[in-house]
């Protein structure tokens, strides 16, 4: 299958600082790629390059589709809009009819379990609910590629585990392509079909792991010995890269 996104010898410099060593990376439909690395290693830069928000200094980034969902570190909702209005926002930008946008919002809100809260303002929501709203917003246009920039970093452990499971279920059902940046090895392993480790700046992909678990995955796989072994190997690679 053709890749949804391909980085070919991509580098990025900001002024005299080299943020990335040449990166080679392709992601196909149905692949969930986790990217872990020490802070400041250029993980977010990879996402921004992938989305087209910034251009590479050398090399090329090619995408088979412009329909990209970007999920930020924080929920980044518009506080003056209700949950539903936040979710339909990208539909407004892309010229979806109001009726169509609402129908789709209905669907994605039920996927993230927020139908009852559609008329609430973000001010009244918990951190986990805000993040679910943010994910629902990114799903409205049914993107071919999702870019996640440490989306669950600010959540408590329990909400985080629950959202991991929900995201995994969504992926199992829809099989989009995803690039998921995180600090958490455990989260990275649980979600990924393939896991990449990035070195400290200038960022370079130093290790790659295939995660053999089938989708859909049960949260309980985290307690299995093989999972711990895998996570240990990733953590060791990460420690070496830092």
């Amino acid at each position: 299958m053709d890749p949804v996104i391909a980085f070919t010898e991509v580098t990025k410099s900001f002024g005299s600082i080299d943020a990335l060593d040449p990166i080679r990376l392709t992601i196909r439909k149905g692949e969930f790629v986790s990217l872990v690395g020490p802070s400041g290693c250029g993980k977010s830069t990879v996402l921004r390059l992938g989305s087209g928000l910034i251009e590479p200094t050398t090399g090329t980034v090619s995408r088979s589709s412009d329909n990209v969902g970007y999920i930020f570190q924080e929920p980044t909702l518009m506080p003056w809009r209700t949950v539903e209005q936040n979710v339909t926002f990208l539909g407004e930008l892309d010229g979806l009819s109001r009726r169509e946008a609402r129908a789709r919002a209905d669907e994605v809100l039920s996927l993230v379990g927020l139908q009852e809260f559609r008329n609430h303002y973000p001010l009244a929501l918990s951190g986990g609910m805000k993040m679910r709203t943010s994910i629902a917003r990114s799903m409205l246009l049914d993107p071919d590629l999702f870019l996640f920039d440490e989306p669950f970093g600010a959540l408590d452990q329990i909400s985080r585990a629950r959202l991991n499971a929900e995201l995994c279920a969504l992926f199992s059902e829809r099989r989009f392509a995803a690039l998921f940046v995180t600090h958490s090895v455990d989260e990275a392993v649980f979600l990924a079909s393939r896991l990449l480790v990035m070195s400290k700046r200038p960022g370079r992909l130093v290790a790659e792991f295939e995660i053999p678990y089938e989708f859909p995955r049960q949260p309980e796989i985290r307690y299995e010995p093989e999972f711990a072994v895998l996570a240990g190997q990733v953590a060791a690679a990460l420690a070496e890269a830092s």
């Binding site: 928000l53 990209v68 970007y70 980044t76 518009m78 990208l90 930008l93 303002y121 001010l123």
Partner: protein, 285 residues
């Protein structure tokens, strides 16, 4: 938070709880008012010698001669009305001008850099020095008076609107960029909605300033149909302390009402999502 809990908390605000809450809001400032009146009496009767008592007549004389006297009351009310009109018109024009300037400035750094110093000049220009000039240029009528208000009201509106327009979350900007939003969409869907809380803050500040501008302009032009400024001048020349104090109180009330109106509008418009404008009662929910 579900709808049901919202209803129950609303219901509990009716009846005695609601009354207690209103008393809690009303009693502290009322006590301060009482203290001020007592202090006022104290100064009038215990500090001032009888032949100098006209400098600060007691509150009941102010009420008797400044408010209960029909002719004086009519004069002050007329002045209040004209001053309020000038201040209101000045604020509307000041807002239209200030907000437009902020919107233009928010679109490009070079425009901001070009206009910002002139916005500051608006703030720092000694308005008293300008007043005679405005009189020469525009006459001593409505036009110059409103202009004084516009100049004085402009700065807080520009600065607050600009800060608000530039304060939208950069990641939301990224989101619009990813969806190829143009300048206009960006302003309408992101920058202006995000700026509303600060726009109302600017309006509230400028509303009070515009009232001051209307009084200052009136005071110095000193011609035409009297507003509060002319009345203040007239009463002070005639050493009519009672009427003077009544006019001062009227001027204060106008400023307070202007501030309060924009407080209410702001809470209504953005209080349900902006914590800084949230109703005190909703802050903990």
């Amino acid at each position: 938070m579900s709808n049901r809990t919202e209803e129950t908390t609303n219901a509990s605000r009716d009846g005695p709880a609601r009354i207690r809450e209103l008393l809690g809001v009303a009693i502290p400032p009322a006590l301060v008012a009482l203290a001020i009146i007592l202090l006022w009496y104290g100064i009038t009767f215990f500090v001032l010698e009888p032949d100098r008592r006209f400098l600060l007549p007691p509150p009941h004389d102010v009420i008797q001669e400044g408010i209960l006297d029909g002719a004086v009351l009519a004069e002050i009310m007329g002045g209040l009305y004209r001053t309020a009109m000038v201040a209101g018109l000045g604020l509307v024009i000041g807002f239209a001008l200030g907000f437009s300037m902020a919107l233009v400035m928010s679109q490009a750094k070079w425009i901001e850099r070009s206009l910002y110093p002139w916005a500051v000049v608006c703030q720092t220009v000694p308005i008293l020095a300008l007043v005679p000039l405005l009189g020469f240029w525009f006459g001593f009528g409505l036009m110059s008076r409103v202009t004084v208000c516009v100049i004085i009201a402009l700065f807080p509106i520009i600065i607050n609107s600009l800060t608000g327009l530039q304060g939208a979350d950069p990641r939301l900007h990224d989101l619009l960029t990813l969806h190829n939003a143009g300048r206009w969409t960006r302003a309408l869907k992101l920058q202006i909605p995000a700026a509303r809380p600060l726009i109302f803050t600017g309006l509230r500040t400028s509303a009070g300033l515009s009232v001051i501008g209307a009084i200052v302009g009136d005071f110095f032009f000193g011609r035409g149909q009297p507003g509060l400024g002319i009345l203040l001048d007239r009463y002070s020349r005639r050493l009519r302390s009672e009427e003077l104090l009544a006019a001062v109180i009227a001027a204060c009330l106008l400023g307070v009402v202007a501030f309060w109106i924009f407080g209410v509008i702001g809470r209504r418009a953005v209080g349900h999502w902006d914590p800084s404008w949230a109703d005190e009662r909703n802050k903990d929910t």
